[in-house]
């Protein structure tokens, strides 16, 4: 009997994203919500700076970086204790930022100044401020470390910044209000969401040509509510996911055929996305319903919603 129980326990194990911790920024609570990846419940809430938005772990998970917009800085937290250990000179009103794969540099969108600030993470100093289009918002680094992408919301472009020269090498015109960008894990494609255009633009990294434009249309949902924001592509490049804002759904896209496979219901005003460490789950932040939706990426079904606090914005996952 005992042996049987033990076997049953082991049989259950692979289904669990063991020991993952999900960290969510709460824009209106000035806090981080820490969610236990085993129980999928809120473990605790940690107070930090004002209006926390984008959040990323360092590649070694020893640090957490959080853009605290109303304090005009990026706070550096200890990845285990969540204590603030430092700040970075992000420029005014930092909203989104990206870190290169080696954890050497950080790239910050400065929406009000129309520039991208480059910070050396070893020295904590600004290396360069790169002028980009009006209202830079989305920012992404390519997994191969060659490119940084900045999308400007009013200029409607994806700017390709060469990481060696820190100069813009190319600009791709996309649909109105590009909000977010992400590379495929093989760095071969760049996916850019357009909030007002209701589209996803897929660009070939080599040629910088647009490969495909996907228009999101959901039966029964007013087109104006379909506002694509967060985008993420799984490690095997099987599926990509796009958060559709007030349409309260995440679009699932076949990342090979580049077609919409399904629309999954989430909480209200879904904006940002993160995978569990094993990729079996997707977490979404739902700003207007104050929760996180957990999506099973095998079954492509939402399985749980976890209340976390007021206006969850960004999400990051640590093993």
């Amino acid at each position: 009997m005992k042996r049987f129980l033990l076997a049953a326990c082991f049989a259950l194990l692979p289904a669990l994203s063991l020991a993952d911790t999900i960290v969510v920024t709460l824009e209106k609570d000035n806090a981080l919500a820490i969610v236990d990846g085993d129980t999928l419940t809120l473990a605790k809430t940690v107070k930090i700076g004002r209006r926390p938005r984008d959040i990323h772990f360092s590649p070694d998970f020893k640090q957490i970086y959080v853009a605290v917009s109303d304090d005009d800085t990026i706070q550096v937290l200890d990845g285990g204790t969540y204590k603030v250990v430092g700040t970075l000179p992000s420029g005014e009103d930092p909203e989104t930022f990206a870190i290169d794969p080696e954890g050497r540099r950080m790239y910050v969108s400065n929406e009000d100044d129309n520039q991208v600030t480059v910070i050396d993470l070893q020295t904590g100093k600004v290396v360069k401020a790169i002028p980009v289009g009006v209202e830079p918002e989305g920012i992404a680094t390519s997994p191969d470390g060659k490119w940084v992408i900045s999308t400007s919301e009013t200029t409607n472009m994806a700017h390709w910044i060469d990481t060696r020269t820190l100069e813009i090498a190319h600009n791709t015109l996309v649909d109105p209000r590009p909000r977010a960008a992400a590379f495929t894990p093989d760095s071969q494609q760049l996916w850019v969401t357009s909030e007002i255009g209701s589209t996803l633009t897929i660009i070939d990294t080599g040629s910088k040509e647009i490969v495909k434009k996907i228009h999101f249309q959901i039966p029964g949902v007013t087109q104006a509510l379909v506002q694509p924001v967060g985008v993420i592509i799984d490690s095997r490049r099987r599926y990509g996911y796009v958060a559709l804002g007030p349409a309260n759904r995440v679009a699932v896209i076949d990342a090979q055929k580049l077609e919409v496979v399904d629309y999954l219901l989430t909480g209200k005003r879904v904006w940002h996305l993160a995978f569990s460490t094993d990729g079996k789950r997707l977490y979404t932040t739902n700003g207007a319903s104050h929760d996180v939706t957990v999506i099973d990426t095998e079954a492509l079904k939402p399985v749980k919603s976890v209340p976390v606090g007021h206006y969850p914005w960004g999400v990051a996952v640590r093993p």
Binding site: D112, G133, V134, E153, N156, L173, D175, I196, T222
Partner: protein, 394 residues
């Protein structure tokens, strides 16, 4: 004929026309405004009269367009002109035409816009109306060479109507002022009432002399006595008396229209959909809040910029074609893509319903449906319009 007398008139336009044609990939935009009337507001003098309304919006738009232009190799240049009292706008317009300007933004009354649109040579330009709410400019007196980035009175009235209908405040008490714009807004409110099937239980024009300011305040209670209604709608577009109505009515009822809950294209309290960024950029540059006419001028410049970027051309015909096509999806910080109505040149746009410090709702409200575009539930729809610049292809 004495040639020397004629010469000055000949060479000025020629000289000025040169830079416009010589430069490659530059879009030249002109802005024409007028010194505002110096009217004393009803209540407190909270804000000075600004002479640069509209112009500041256009300037910000040029800055935005040029930031984009850095990456596309296009330049945008603005010539701003503000007319003093007594100056004939047609004369200024004539010189703009002579100098080769083909995109001309105007913050002027409807009569001026109409006269300009009919002038010789004006058929080869686009006038962008960022100044007049008059419905007739979008209806009976519409012109193919005028686009309207400012909403119409009818759009504002319909936005209010949608909200009041949703709240089931369906007995309206209308109080229009004496001025022309008051009467036109009141007319739009009457149309909305009919459209939504609500009752105008009373209409009483406010005719009091503004010199008797103190008594005017006291009069509101008795003025509104004896009428049973849900909401009082005041049409006082210049802000001369409407601010006396909230809290002074005989019955405890809310006030909307030109004061109280207002329907407007833009407002400082609007922060959603990234609007706070535009508010900040404008305030940093102009040192004051963005006004609806600043927003309309900014939209006009941005629409031109967007057309130049998307068509990769500064050619007038190409820009014009793009602006009137369904490819235009202008981001206006109001959560929906904006485009021009092909039948009358009006820019479709959401309307903010707002109090002095907080936005209450944004029209079109949920539930007000339209077969093509919900934004067309605001103002004269294609079938109601007396203007048919382009007939829909079958």
């Amino acid at each position: 004929m004495n040639l020397s007398k004629l010469l000055p008139f000949l060479w000025i336009p020629v000289l000025l026309a040169l830079p416009l044609t010589a430069e490659a990939a530059t879009v030249h935009i002109a802005f024409l405004g007028k010194q505002p009337e110096d009217l004393r507001p009803a209540a407190a003098n909270l804000e000075p009269v600004h002479a640069d309304i509209g112009l500041r919006g256009a300037e910000l738009g040029i800055e935005d367009d040029n930031t984009t232009g850095r990456f596309t190799g296009q330049k945008f240049k603005l010539l701003g002109a503000t007319l003093h009292h007594g100056e004939d706008p047609r004369r200024a317009f004539y010189f703009l035409l002579k100098e080769g300007y083909r995109h001309i933004i105007v913050n002027l009354p409807a009569s001026d816009i109409q006269q300009m649109a009919d002038m010789e040579g004006a058929e080869a330009v686009i006038l962008y109306n960022a100044g007049a709410y008059d419905d007739r400019l979008r209806g009976r007196d519409c012109r193919a060479n005028v686009l309207h980035t400012l909403p119409s009175h009818a759009m504002r009235a319909d936005a209010l109507g949608q909200y009041l209908k949703k709240k089931r405040w369906e007995d309206w008490f209308l109080v229009p002022g004496k001025r022309r714009q008051d009467r036109l807004f009141a007319r739009a409110i009457r149309r909305t009432a009919k459209r939504f099937g609500v009752k105008l239980v009373a209409e009483k024009p406010w005719t009091h002399d503004f010199d008797a300011r103190r008594t005017a305040q006291a009069l509101v209670a008795t003025f509104t006595q004896g009428v049973e209604y849900d909401i009082l709608l005041v049409a006082d577009e210049a802000g001369l008396f409407g601010d006396y109505f909230p809290y002074r009515t005989w019955l405890p009822r809310p006030v909307a229209g030109s004061q109280g809950l207002i329907a407007t294209a833009w407002h400082p309290a609007h922060e959603q959909w990234g609007a706070v960024q535009l508010q900040n950029r404008f305030r940093e540059r102009a040192g004051r809040w963005m006004k609806p006419r600043d927003y309309a001028a900014w939209l006009a410049v941005r629409a031109i910029g967007e057309a130049a970027t998307r068509t990769q051309s500064v050619d007038f015909a190409k820009i014009r074609e793009f602006l009137l096509s369904d490819r235009l999806a202008l981001a206006g910080f109001k959560g929906r893509p904006l485009s021009f109505r092909r039948w009358n040149g009006q820019l479709r746009q959401p309307i903010l319903l707002t109090g002095p410090r907080a936005v209450v709702a944004v029209a079109p409200l949920e539930g007000f449906l339209h077969p093509v575009d919900e934004l067309d539930t605001l103002g004269y729809d294609e079938r109601e319009s007396l203007c048919h610049l382009t007939r829909k292809r079958p």
